[in-house]
């Protein structure tokens, strides 16, 4: 895994000290809130409903054991014993005190972490496939490129005051687990006809109040040219992106208003000026970063483990966990183990200090000290020997982390919503809890199969409701929470924005409404169809009918 060099270390430490001084000046009254606000936001410090919130970056969702242990320690020392993993592969703390945040940032810096790129109109923390370096279907580990993007984009002087925030996601696999088509820039690794590995560049995707699936601006860009090409896109956006209206300032609006062809021409024109400049990254330099992400020292193993099979046969709950939460690894004898942060009736993405420390310990014992955070708000131990899976699951299960529901109806994405967020218009967590309880029976979840429910507590769509197979958007209607349902969204390589089914439902009605959709799907599905497949086959009408009848 990537380790900070002296430059990284100095950068983060200086930033931490700068912020300590800024906080001191703010508390002493030397700077006003108006002056301080942009400074605190650039360090991940928001003011939410009940308190400050600190958002910590987890670049490309990769953590070392000592880093996760420190995240647990910070939860205990500076917060109320828990943290919330977000849809941006970050972690948020909900109760830090302003004068203690510089200490928390120092603790983070000591394990090579920070809160940079978690707020403001800059290029944000780059996200990627949580199974990077482990997935059987991967072309190449995308993280060396993510790390290069991190280095290129961090404090980039030209792109610190963009028209609006800017999010880049990368997938190294054709099966997109990073939702790259709904980011400002999505990079999909693939090979061109000459057999070279590079990236399709997708631009102008996004969720929020104006959702779009991104459009391909370039089918193939070679690795050496990637960074100058990204710079060219950012330059075009920085120059032409709208600054007159916050709600029309994202690059998706520019692409939509000007058209992808015009944006492509502008980018190509800009790129022609800079493509042979200092941003052209040599093969040697790329190799240097690839070397930072070399696979761990896997043992040569048979892919079949007799004990593993015995445990599966003897223990139904373990069998079920393997069935949903364990994914094929590229290395024979190893597996990818998903740690669900969605216990039935629990708060999606929340983990206690001791749970974080436990997962850190288990990662050292079973997964080369490597942990991942997913945009679906779960954790992953990416490199576990099949022979160790039972011991791992036993330890996870004892700590409430053994829920067998990955990809099922109870594996719900939910933003913090009105329970925490100052922008929210309705609560989302309690709704996710009630849906989880309604469908908690595992046999029923197996019967339903893959079903992605995603809930946002406001139009900003942090809960990705637009790309949920069933999406739920919480709104405020004359002081009461009500919930709008969208159907047919998809965050994968077949990305689609869901369509609004019709009028919203009250808090009391909405869980029944979701259940009626699921029941309808079970009634009309054909063999092997997931909910989304059935929806694509039959369209909105049959589902609309169960929701609204003659209404």
């Amino acid at each position: 895994m990537y380790r900070y060099d002296d430059f990284d270390r100095q950068l983060v430490q200086e930033r931490t000290e700068q912020f300590r001084e800024q906080v001191k000046r703010r508390l002493a009254g030397d700077i006003t809130e108006e002056q301080f606000r942009p400074l605190r936001l650039m360090n991940g410090v928001y003011l939410q409903l009940h308190a400050y919130m600190l958002r910590v970056a987890i670049p490309y969702g990769t953590l070392r054991a000592d880093q996760l242990r420190e995240l647990g320690s910070i939860a205990r020392k500076y917060d109320k014993g828990y943290g919330h993993f977000t849809t941006r592969q970050n972690i948020q703390y909900n109760w830090p005190k302003l004068d203690e945040i510089p200490d928390a940032l120092l603790d983070l810096a000591n394990v090579e972490m920070h809160a940079i790129q978690t707020s403001g109109n800059c290029i944000r923390n780059t996200t990627t496939d949580q199974y990077a370096g482990a997935a059987a279907d991967e072309i190449e580990d995308p993280r060396p490129y993510c790390e290069l993007i991190r280095q290129w984009s961090t404090f980039h002087p030209e792109f610190t005051y963009l028209p609006r925030k800017f999010k880049i996601a990368v997938t190294g696999s054709p099966n997109d687990r990073a939702a790259v088509k709904v980011h400002d820039i999505g990079l999909r690794m693939h090979q061109n006809e000459a057999g070279e590995t590079g990236f399709e560049v997708i631009v102008g995707g996004g969720l929020g109040r104006t959702p779009f699936v991104g459009k391909t601006i370039r089918d193939f860009i070679g690795k050496n040219d990637l960074f100058s090409y990204l710079e060219a896109i950012l330059r075009v956006y920085n120059r032409f992106g709208r600054r007159d209206n916050k709600y029309k300032a994202r690059i998706k609006i520019l692409v939509h208003e000007e058209g992808i062809d015009k944006i492509r021409d502008l980018v190509e024109e800009e790129w022609a000026q800079i493509r042979d400049g200092s941003l052209r990254v040599s093969d040697e330099e790329i190799a240097h970063y690839i070397a930072q992400f070399t696979p761990p020292a896997f043992e040569t193993l048979s892919d079949d483990d007799a004990d593993f099979e015995v445990h599966k046969a003897a223990n139904r709950r373990f069998f079920n966990w393997v069935r949903s939460n364990v994914i094929e690894h590229k290395q024979p004898g190893y597996a990818i183990a998903n740690v669900s942060l969605k216990p039935i009736g629990g708060i999606p993405g929340d983990a206690t200090d001791s749970q974080m420390e436990l997962v850190a310990d288990l990662s050292e014992k079973y997964s080369f000290g490597d942990v991942r955070v997913t945009h679906e708000q779960n954790l992953v131990l990416p490199h576990v020997k099949k022979a160790d899976l039972f011991a791992l699951w036993t330890a996870l299960d004892a700590a409430g982390l053994g829920t067998a529901n990955l990809g099922y109806v109870t594996d719900i994405i939910s933003c913090p919503g009105l329970d925490y967020c100052a922008l929210a218009t309705a609560r989302s967590i309690p709704l996710s809890q009630r849906i989880s309880e309604r469908f908690g029976d595992l046999d029923r979840q197996h019967d339903i199969g893959e079903l992605k429910i995603k809930i946002s507590g406001c139009i900003n769509a942090c809960g990705h409701h637009h790309v949920g197979h069933i999406g739920i958007l919480g709104l405020d209607k004359r002081g009461k929470e009500f919930y709008q349902i969208t159907l047919g969204g998809d965050a994968s390589e077949n990305a689609e924005i869901g369509k609004i089914a019709g009028a919203g439902f009250s808090e009391a009605e909405v869980v029944d409404a979701i259940e009626s959709l699921v029941t309808k799907y079970i009634d009309i599905r054909e063999s092997g169809e997931r909910f989304i497949d059935t929806y694509r086959r039959v369209g909105m009408d049959p589902f609309k009918e169960v929701l609204y009848g003659d209404r």
Binding site: L27, H50, A51, L98, L418, D419, R427, I429, Q433, K480
Partner: protein
């Protein structure tokens, strides 16, 4: 005419506070100075927005409240949550005390 109080977040810890009758800030909405009518509301908001309070609180604003069972209750659910804490964690926030 509706009743209003001023709320804000305290600078040091970000916690929710309310402007009190003596010009201080309390964690308890029932300590609030209540304004009845537009002029009174403008007056308390102006008081809460004094520049010297910038080192005490952040972002003061008016909220509508009602008298209920001898206590003040915000009319908007968002503000009710601010007086209590997250509905999903009743062990946290003011409701836990």
């Amino acid at each position: 005419m509706s009743l209003q109080v001023v709320t804000a977040n305290r600078l040091g810890d970000g916690l929710v506070v309310f402007l009190t009758a003596d010009g201080g800030w309390s964690e308890n909405i029932n300590d609030s100075r209540v304004a009845d009518g537009k002029d009174a509301a403008e007056a308390i908001l102006a008081q809460a927005s004094a520049p010297e309070l910038d080192v005490v609180i952040v972002g003061p604003y008016l909220i509508d409240v009602e008298q209920q069972d001898g206590g003040l209750v915000p009319t908007k659910y968002r503000e009710v949550l601010r007086t209590k804490g997250p509905s999903v964690r009743e062990d946290l926030g003011y409701q836990a005390v």
